[in-house]
Symmetry: C2
Subunit: 240 residues, 2 copies
C-alpha cells in the first residue's frame, strides 16, 4: 500500500530533510513515526531535500506499508509520534506509480523577508531586510521567468547534470511589514531560491542587478551571495 | 547615570524575565551584557515579570551605571553581548526618579491566536484556535473594560494585596488567519491576560461566558483555564 502525505515543519532544529547518521533529519523523524505506527522500517521519500534551517508549509512525501490503514489513522498516529516541530496535515492512498520526487510537476517556494531591524521574534523564520523596496525586486524578477540555463544560480556541489529549468512565476506580496516572494518552477537547483533571494535583497537596496547578464554568464561566481536558509519555505508541490 | 532601555525577546528558551539561580532568565542575560559592556554588576529592573515562554515586543527596563555612555553605544554593545533571542531596540537617559516598574502608568499585552490546526511554524509563538469566531470574543470583551476587582482573574500564588485594576480597552484585530487581542490596563495581576484569553477562546467556540458573573464571584476557581504562555506578548509600556 502506497501512502502520500503532506507535511509541514519548522526546520530550525533539523539538519535538513535528508536522512543523516545523526538522525536529526525530518525524514528520520517521519520514518521513526511510521515505524512506531506500523512496526515496519520503510523509506519516506520526499519531493526533494530541504537544507538545515529551511522550513516547509507543504512538503509532499510517500511511503509503502504492507498493511492497510485508514488515512485519518495515519495522520493521527504519525502526529502522536512526531516532535511538535513536524506535523502531517494530510494522508491519502496513492497509485504504485506515484513517486513524491519523480512525479512532481511544479514546486513553489516562498522566501519571507521583513522590513526593519532584526527581531528576536522573527529570528529563524524570516530575514530582516531594513527598508528594502519591493518594486525594485518586482522589476528584476521578470527576467527570471521563463526557460533558462540557471548555472549561475546553482551552488557548487549540486549533482545536477542539466541546469535548465522553467520558472513559471515570481510573485511578491508586500503588506508594509512583510515581503513574501513566491517562486514557481518545474524544478529548482541547489540553493537556487536562496541565490535569487540574495539578489532580490540587493535590488531592494538600490544595487544594480542584471539578471539577464547573470543568466548569460553561466557562472556561479557571478552571483556571489546566498540568502539565509531560515527565510525559505517549501510552499507547494504540484502533481498531474 | 540611569538608563532606560526597550527590549524585545523570544521567551521560548527562557525561564521568564525574573533573575533565577539557573541564570536562564532575560534579566540575567541583560545583566551579563551590561557587565560585559561596563565591568559593573548592576540590576536591570523591568516594568514587570513575564513568565517562561512569554514574549516581549517592547519590555521597558532601567539600570544605573557610574560611567556615562552614549545611548547608541549602549544599544550596540548590549546587542553584541546578548543572545539572538534578546534585542535592545532603544536606550535613553532617564531621571533618577524614573523606575521602570513603579513609574509605569499603562501596559498593553497582545495575545496571538490563529485559525486552523496547530502549525509547527507558529508553535511557541501563537495559539491554534480552530475555527474560533472573533465577534463572540468582542462581545464578551466589553464587560472586561472598566475598574473591577479581578480576583477571579488572578492565579493562585500571586502576591497582589489588591486585585482592583482598570482595563482601558480590549481590542481585536482579525485578518482571517490571525486573531490578535490587545488589552490595555493600569496594571495586570498574575496570569490575568492568559485567564482572559482562555475565556475568549471558549467564547470563540460558542461556549457561554458571563464575564459579569465571573467578576462578581471574586473566586479564581470560577474561571478555570489559563491559555498557554507562548501566545502572550508584552506589547507596550507607557509612562507619564
Amino acid at each position: 500500500m502506497r501512502y502520500r502525505i503532506t507535511v509541514s515543519y519548522d526546520g530550525t532544529g533539523f539538519c535538513g530533510w535528508q536522512s543523516q547518521p545523526s538522525g536529526r533529519s525530518v525524514q528520520d523523524a517521519l520514518e521513526n513515526a511510521v515505524f512506531r505506527l506500523s512496526g515496519e522500517r520503510t523509506h519516506v521519500v520526499g519531493s526533494g531535500r530541504t537544507d538545515a534551517g529551511v522550513h516547509a508549509i507543504a512538503q509532499v512525501a510517500h511511503f509503502e506499508l504492507s498493511r492497510e490503514y485508514e488515512n485519518k489513522t495515519i495522520v493521527g498516529a504519525l502526529n502522536a509520534h512526531l516532535p511538535r516541530s513536524v506535523r502531517v496535515s494530510d494522508c491519502r492512498r496513492a497509485d504504485d506509480g506515484f513517486d513524491a520526487r519523480k512525479s512532481a510537476k511544479r514546486k513553489t517556494y516562498m522566501y519571507l523577508m521583513y522590513r526593519g531591524e532584526r527581531s528576536p521574534l522573527l529570528d529563524g523564520r524570516a530575514v530582516a531586510v531594513g527598508d528594502a523596496d519591493c518594486e525594485s525586486m518586482r522589476r528584476i524578477a521578470e527576467d527570471i521567468v521563463g526557460t533558462h540555463d540557471f548555472t549561475t544560480f546553482m551552488a557548487h556541489g549540486s549533482g545536477a547534470k542539466n541546469a535548465v529549468r522553467t520558472v513559471y512565476s515570481v510573485r511578491f506580496e508586500d503588506d508594509g511589514k512583510f515581503i513574501k516572494m513566491f517562486i514557481t518552477a518545474n524544478g529548482f537547483l541547489y540553493n537556487m531560491v536562496r541565490i535569487i533571494a540574495a539578489l532580490m535583497i540587493k535590488a531592494g537596496h538600490g544595487e544594480p542587478v542584471d539578471i539577464k547578464a547573470l543568466l548569460a554568464a553561466r557562472d556561479r561566481t557571478a552571483a556571489k551571495d546566498t540568502a539565509p536558509p531560515y527565510g525559505l519555505y517549501l510552499y507547494d508541490v504540484e502533481y498531474e
